[in-house]
């Protein structure tokens, strides 16, 4: 039987969750995008209001089920629903937003159990146009929060960038599991 793994993509509105899933999904993604009516939050034509869904088969045959969350705070009720049973989380931060480090804190807190388990990775977008905060700033903030997750720049329109994020996420999960197993056996 094919093993199925669930991953969740979270982050602020416009960070690229739908785009990231679309970039790597081998099926036409299921989306719940509707016309955006809040241009104060983000100047974007459409926004996800429930979830995105895509699928990707790994080289080993495991099937990844990819779930995207709606980004706005008012849809926070959807986040734990979609994160339930997830192996890991990809947190996408848009560096062009007013306070990306506050966004980082918000989504890390929301997906804290996955982050604490070492099952999360942070992808920072639009760093080419908005280089600040830097990756060092992100690392510093994570250290203050006592959270150890990888942070990497990403252009989620590019399939390879999204696959790189997933590769780092799986390495992180594997490394954390190894450490846990060693701790148990010692």
């Amino acid at each position: 039987m094919t093993q199925e793994l669930k991953l969740v993509f979270a982050g602020s509105m416009g960070a690229g969750k739908t785009t990231a899933i679309r970039a790597i999904s081998e099926i036409e993604p299921i989306t719940t995008e509707v016309q955006n009516t809040d241009f104060v939050e983000f100047d974007k034509e459409e926004t996800t209001v429930a979830m995105d869904y895509g699928e990707l088969t790994l080289q080993g045959g495991e099937k990844l089920r990819l779930y995207g969350t709606p980004g706005q705070m008012r849809f926070q009720f959807m986040w734990p629903i979609l994160a339930s049973g997830a192996l890991g989380a990809v947190l996408l931060i848009d560096n062009s937003r007013p306070d990306p480090l506050a966004d980082l804190e918000l989504y890390l807190e929301a997906f804290r159990s996955l982050a604490d388990a070492g099952a999360a990775v942070v992808g920072v977008g639009r760093m080419d146009r908005c280089p600040q905060p830097s990756l060092e700033d992100y690392a510093e903030r994570l250290a203050q929060l006592d959270i150890v997750v990888p942070v990497m720049p990403a252009d989620v329109r590019r399939r390879d960038d999204v696959l790189d994020i997933l590769e780092v996420l799986f390495q992180q999960i594997e490394a954390t599991n190894d450490v846990s197993q060693n701790a148990v056996s010692e």
Binding site: I30, T31, T32, V34, Q35, N36, T37, D38, F39, V40, D43, E45, T47, V49, A50, M51, P70, Q72, R74, F75, F77, M78
Partner: protein, 161 residues
């Protein structure tokens, strides 16, 4: 439409329709008019439910209902209903030229579903007429191009799609 900048007269007219729906159907304990992206436009709720949270959920559930309808190829979704032990909620899109609004009606469990559906449909149609008339007058008054100035520069227009 930027819901944070709905003109007062339009908001008042929406509010009137929602209050009328709430008042005319026995057993109805709440009515919400929300945007399809989950923002509260008008609401009357008798219990402790938070209208803003309910509005967000209305947007999500309608989108999910319509998505699953498409996925299983049963055609366009007409309404979404949630039936619970102590009540039910019925969600119906507002039929208007711009597909931006949803009416949600919360009722006690002993309310007749057919009546609720009929009355929610009437309210949705009335809201649609109000919205269409306002869109028409707004576009006539200012012209599609000029109307783009209603919101901050670069934002999509309020009235023309």
């Amino acid at each position: 439409m930027n819901v944070r900048a709905i003109p007062q007269e339009l908001e008042a007219a929406f509010d009137r329709e929602i209050k009328q729906l709430h008042a005319r159907v026995a057993g109805v304990i709440g009515c919400v008019l929300a945007t399809t992206d989950g923002r509260r436009v008008a609401a009357v709720v008798d219990n402790e439910a938070d209208p803003q949270r309910v509005s967000a959920m209305v947007g999500s559930i309608v989108a999910l209902g319509e998505t699953i309808g498409r996925e299983v190829m049963i055609g366009q979704t007409q309404f979404v209903a949630v039936s619970a032990v102590s009540g039910m909620i019925l969600l119906q899109r507002v039929p208007a030229k711009r597909d931006l609004l949803v009416v949600g009606t919360l009722a006690r469990h002993n309310t007749n579903l057919g009546t609720l559906l009929h009355e929610t449909g009437i309210a949705a149609a009335a809201v649609g007429i109000v919205f269409d008339e306002w869109l028409k007058s707004a576009n006539t008054a200012s012209g599609a191009t000029e109307h783009r100035g209603v919101e901050a520069a670069g934002r999509p227009p309020l009235a023309d799609s």
